[in-house]
């Protein structure tokens, strides 16, 4: 889909593609910042690297108004129910980015207090490793997320450390992206 390659001023697309294209350049992100990765997140968001170029320069500090959850920093077991609640409060369609190695796997923490990867609690779409990740790394993750949003893909699996496999995440009450597309396509 491209405006430039259209000589007549018309363009054809499917609703799914058009929606994905619109969504990927209007990301409202929720920064769930708990630890040192927050510094690198701020660096990425500030003018030098400028995530506004990707349409993601508008952090919302309410989960109800955002569609990408950036989990930035170590999540402890005490914090885990809060994270789950925040994720449940977000409207579908929603995506989750695990920012930094602590959110991906627990990182160098292997102790009584730290969650060994947030994908044991909420489904994660993009993992950005690094301690902390460089802004270039974050932007790479953001572009991969945009690809996913364009395709209308969302992660629906959780990691189960007991079986070392994925298991389906119970969908939070809400309106899934599949339902939304079905609704638009079926309406006259």
């Amino acid at each position: 889909m491209s405006f430039l390659s259209s000589p007549t001023g018309f363009l054809t697309s499917t609703i799914k593609d058009a929606l994905g294209w619109a969504r990927k350049y209007s990301i409202f992100q929720y920064p769930f910042v708990t630890a040192c990765c927050g510094m690198e997140y701020m660096s990425t968001a500030a003018s030098h690297y400028d995530v506004d170029r990707f349409g993601a320069g508008f952090p919302r500090f309410s989960p109800r108004q955002s569609d990408v959850l950036f989990v930035v920093g170590t999540i402890s077991h005490k914090m885990a129910p809060v994270l789950k609640t925040i994720h449940d409060q977000m409207c579908e369609p929603k995506w989750v980015v695990a920012f930094g190695v602590c959110t991906c796997t627990g990182g160098f923490y292997d102790n009584y207090s730290t969650v060994m990867g947030i994908d044991t609690i909420i489904p994660v779409d993009i993992y950005i490793p690094g301690c902390p990740p460089r802004p270039e790394n974050v932007i790479d993750g953001l572009m991969k997320l945009q690809e996913k949003i364009q395709k209308g893909e969302q992660s629906r699996t959780l990691y189960d450390p007991r079986t070392k496999t994925g298991r389906p995440a119970e969908l939070s009450q809400g309106y899934s992206i599949e339902q939304h597309i079905k609704h638009i396509e079926s309406s006259p």
Partner: protein
């Protein structure tokens, strides 16, 4: 230059360690001093009396409780060293007026890990003692609000005890792993 212990005694000026030792000779179990870094090990029963003396004696005037924590000596030095008591509660005092410091250690038994609270003398002891309770399970007799400060109420056991399994997880949500 830090004054050497013998010279200061010869000059008639007692270091905080010597002053406490003089006052509570019956209660001091052990002392240690190295380049002005002074430590006293005292009997648990004498803690309140010693603490009160440290705070009120004008030549000591320890008005700042810098730190309060505990040590678990189970498996100390790979199990080669057996201590009589499993825990030690460690207090670090500082005098802003005299610029001197003192460390007090109180051995605590494993069966009944209890010492007196210092919240009445230094209000900052409140959260330190809650942390020592949370992590080591040391009871502080007379503490006004002795509950967990870092871990959640549902947490079982005390995480920094050496016999707490390092890979044991007690998540509030999510799978047990």
């Amino acid at each position: 230059m830090t004054p050497n212990l013998t010279t200061s005694k010869e000059q008639g000026i007692l270091t905080p360690l010597q002053r406490v030792q003089e006052q509570f000779s019956q209660e001091v179990v052990e002392t240690h001093a190295f380049r002005g870094d002074e430590t006293l090990v005292i009997r648990p029963g004498a803690l309140l009396a010693v603490a009160k003396f440290l705070k009120t004696a004008p030549e000591l005037d320890f008005n700042f409780l810098m730190d309060l924590t505990a040590v678990d000596y189970l498996f100390f030095a790979g199990g080669r060293v057996q201590k009589e008591f499993r825990f030690e509660v460690v207090y670090h005092f500082y005098s802003l007026k005299h610029n001197h410091r003192l460390r007090i250690k109180v051995p605590v038994d494993e069966k009944d890990p209890e010492v007196d609270t210092l919240t009445g003398l230094w209000p900052s002891a409140d959260w330190y003692e809650r942390e020592a309770w949370d992590m080591f399970g040391i009871q502080f007799k007379g503490h006004p609000n002795l509950k967990r400060i870092l871990m959640y109420e549902e947490f079982q056991g005390h995480a920094l005890r050496k016999d707490y399994p390092f890979n044991k997880r007690q998540p509030l949500i999510g799978p047990q792993n």
